[in-house]
Chain length 129, copies 2
DNA sequence: CTTGACATACGAAGACCTTCGTATTAGCAT
DNA sequence: ATGCTAATACGAAGGTCTTCGTATGTCAAG
């Protein structure tokens, strides 16, 4: 039943995935235009990366149109979980609380965000009863 | 005043760093013995990695003894911050609360840990006043 | 002093990542 | 049809990471 044994995306691949999550299904041209604004890059570079990602099944590709349409294979949340779990295991020895506390203490978190996080903790405690 | 522009350690390098953090200053033999228990590897592989890490300044090396003694350059907390900040930026668009909430919801966190996290949030809110 | 155990240094292979140039093909306007 | 634009396919260079074999050096025991 495993649908989740995809390779961990590299940094460049993750940039592309983020564009696809934000835009939804997109052509190479779409992704290139978006990425090129912040970070100058070559069109064929993006194309090649996306072709490789299709080989790896990180993205799905629809070839009906001349300009193929790409779509992230996994939803954003699932990939975030994957990367977070990986870091949790690799750098924190599996201790989620240490990870969370470090994230809270190092990154500046707004009051509003703190409220939301507290609410989530409340819910978890309730459910854990 | 920058003391923090070290390269992000790779997966293998992080494994070695974790041994050094746990054991304190150690020889290649020490690290090899530790790693080899969980994951069969070659002695010279570990040696080479640690030499490269010394070049990159990820570790400091004391050559007074015949068996050189290695020590992590940065404390564990600082490297965790670095990796977390990197992931935060790369996969969460800088939203710390989304990262924290995802970590909380996906990893199972004990009641005791939840209490600690809540206390930390309290402190942050106090300080933010 | 010779040998054996064990240390570092070094080179190189193989895998992957990123980048880009070039070739080829598809569609459209003239 | 011809040619222009824009798309995909492909190969290869250059970099990094990981692994390991081999060479070399050092120390101590016999």
């Amino acid at each position: 039943m495993r649908r989740d044994d995809l390779p961990k995306p590299t940094d460049s691949e993750l940039e592309i995935l983020r564009v696809l999550w934000n835009r939804g299904p997109s052509t190479v041209r779409d992704v290139f235009d978006t990425l090129n604004e912040s970070k100058p890059t070559g069109y064929t570079t993006v194309l090649k990366l996306m072709q490789i990602m299709a080989d790896k099944k990180l993205v799905r590709r629809n070839e009906e149109q001349r300009a193929h349409v790409y779509e992230a294979q996994l939803p954003e949340e699932q990939t975030q979980n994957q990367l977070l779990g990986d870091l949790l295991h690799r750098a924190f020895g599996g201790s989620a609380s240490r990870l969370v506390m470090r994230a809270l203490s190092s990154a500046k978190t707004s009051k509003q965000e703190l409220v939301e996080i507290r609410r989530m903790i409340d819910e978890m405690e309730d459910r854990a009863k």
